[in-house]
């Protein structure tokens, strides 16, 4: 039963035209990466790596924003959800199954992006072997896994928002704002807590701290620098990030299920 919903979700994603647009965009950006790397004097490997990873982050983000959100939001808006709910499918199972399907789709996209990144980095390496630096391909793969986890987390948040938002556009806005806040929350907290700016009101500090705990700290999942310079990541650090991600996503999905159970589908 869950497998059926998961599979249909995955299929819907694959058949979505936006996926092809995003693939094209990512390919263009990889070509751009090779061109830009040629203009760098020393740290060629680093530039190729972090441009490739930036492309991967951006493309995965587009998939979440334009494909994942659409799937659940459309399901509710167009009432196609009636089929599943009029059968003996518990609402919690439905949410879980949808999430797994979206995760599968995201996983496939990130895997393709990984292949593209590795190809791009290898091309640049062939062109400028002596300037390549200490790029670690293994860490590039780990960085992609990290991107996958991050976007999975964002997907779970988008599912929560679609339960309470009045339209798919509102869900879109809430999700992108969450990503923006999540990406900057660590920096902002550091900035506010540093002794440099003395004229910060205590209220601001509280708000920043609240946002830090409420929104996911996505900086934990940004491993571009590690991959670009071969800076090793402690297993404990990685483990903690994974645990944090899983915990946060589970909490969000649980809340989603709680809200969904009570939701009236007129």
């Amino acid at each position: 039963m869950i497998a059926a919903v998961t599979w249909v979700t995955f299929l819907e994603g694959l058949r979505n035209r936006a996926v092809y647009g995003i693939t094209l965009l990512a390919s263009l950006m990889m070509v751009f990466t090779v061109l830009l790397s040629s203009m760098i004097m020393q740290d060629v490997g680093k530039v190729a790596t972090d441009l490739a990873l930036s492309t991967a982050t951006f493309a995965a983000l587009l998939v979440v924003m334009f494909v994942n959100i659409n799937i659940l939001a459309k399901d509710l808006e167009r009432k196609t959800i009636y089929l599943a709910l009029s059968r003996a499918v518990p609402r919690s199972h439905y949410i879980l199954a949808r999430f797994l399907g979206l995760g599968l789709l995201l996983g496939l996209v990130v895997l393709l992006l990984l292949c593209a990144s590795l190809a791009t980095i290898q091309i640049v390496r062939q062109m400028y072997p002596s300037y390549f630096g200490m790029v670690s391909l293994w860490l590039v793969a780990v960085a992609h896994l990290s991107i996958f986890l991050q976007m999975l987390l964002l997907t779970s948040l988008s599912m929560l928002f679609s339960m309470v938002a009045s339209s798919s556009f509102v869900t879109f806005l809430l999700t992108i704002v969450s990503w923006l806040i999540g990406s900057s929350t660590q920096e902002v907290k550091r900035l506010v807590e540093s002794s440099e700016l003395s004229q910060i009101a205590p209220v601001t500090k509280m708000v920043v701290k609240a946002a830090y705990y409420l929104f996911p700290n996505l900086a934990l999942f940004d491993l571009k620098t590690n991959a670009a310079h071969g800076i090793p990541i402690h297993l404990s650090q990685l483990g903690f990030a994974v645990l944090y991600g899983v915990g946060y996503a589970t909490a969000v999905l649980s809340l989603t299920v709680i809200i969904f159970r009570r939701k009236e589908l007129t």
């Binding site: 760098i40 004097m41 740290d43 680093k46 951006f58 200490m134 900057s184 620098t225 310079h229």
Partner: protein
């Protein structure tokens, strides 16, 4: 009855397209050359770049690099304009603020700003911070160490960074020798001569012809200064007082010939007794 085929939309479409294509190149707005790519304070820039800090750093650096490649220094002073220095400084500062692990901006800062004596304190501090971040890199602590002694007269910091460079490079004897010179408060000109000779050697190894020429010119100036310094020291020992001008040294036959400055300036003795030249190489002027 067949409907009438109208050419009107085809004609208006073609004419409009032609007008557009003609006007497009003429309608380009000329951007002032010194427009900053990111005009925000570094900390704010980091926040606004979200997860694309490194890519933004790359773009900022490329902006500086392209600018440098396309701009020539003023013919008379052999320097760039003050606003050009300021622009480069800000652009490179933004670049390292966004990605402190990126090597190229530090490199450019060192060659374009430090030797042109622009904001040497601030720039070298950035290079030093870069050395702290890039823990595997021996080049940055080497640059920082050299600059601290030669330009900023900070022997302690210089020694710290040069020994760090040596440690990171697995005991490069050249870095060791420089560190030793700092420890013994060696003559700064000889210090710089040693540094330049090493740089020329490295450039030759990598086949960087253009760079070698620039470095050799600098080396020539410093060697000339050294000769004058040695003569001045002998003068002081002989006559009990330091010489006033370079011509005095020549008159007293302590300096055999007047060295020429490949940068076109003339050598003179400054109030504090140090030998300087009126040209770009050792210009007294400090740009703000």
């Amino acid at each position: 009855m067949r409907s009438k085929f109208s050419f009107v939309p085809w004609i208006t479409g073609s004419v409009a397209l032609i007008v557009y294509l003609i006007c497009l190149p003429l309608a380009v707005v000329e951007r002032p050359r010194h427009e900053q790519l990111f005009a925000l304070p570094p900390k704010l820039l980091r926040i606004v770049a979200f997860q694309f800090k490194e890519a933004a750093a790359d773009m900022s650096f490329l902006n500086a690099s392209v600018f440098l490649g396309g701009t020539t220094p003023q013919h008379d002073t052999r320097r760039y304009l003050p606003q050009q220095y300021s622009w480069m400084y800000n652009t490179l500062k933004n670049s390292v603020a966004l990605d402190p692990y990126f090597l190229d901006p530090y490199y450019l800062m060192n060659s374009a700003l430090i030797w042109d004596r622009y904001k040497q304190d601030e720039v070298n501090e950035l290079i030093a911070k870069g050395a702290d971040k890039r823990t595997w890199d021996s080049l940055l602590p080497f640059y920082a160490g050299f600059n601290y002694y030669y330009f900023l007269n900070n022997a302690d910091k210089s020694f710290t960074y040069l020994t760090e460079a040596s440690k990171r490079s697995g005991g490069n004897p050249f870095y060791d020798s420089l560190a030793a010179r700092v420890a013994y408060k060696a003559n700064k000109t000889e210090f710089a001569i040693s540094y330049l000779e090493n740089q020329i050697q490295q450039a030759d190894l990598h086949g960087q012809r253009g760079k070698t020429r620039d470095l050799e010119r600098r080396l020539e100036v410093l060697k000339a200064i050294r000769r004058i310094e040695i003569a001045a020291e002998s003068y002081r020992k002989l006559f009990g007082k330091p010489p006033g001008t370079v011509s005095e040294l020549i008159k007293s036959s302590l300096l055999l010939s007047l060295p020429s400055d490949p940068y076109g300036g003339s050598f003179y003795i400054d109030q504090d007794g140090s030998i300087k030249t009126t040209s770009n190489m050792t210009s007294v002027k400090k740009e703000k």
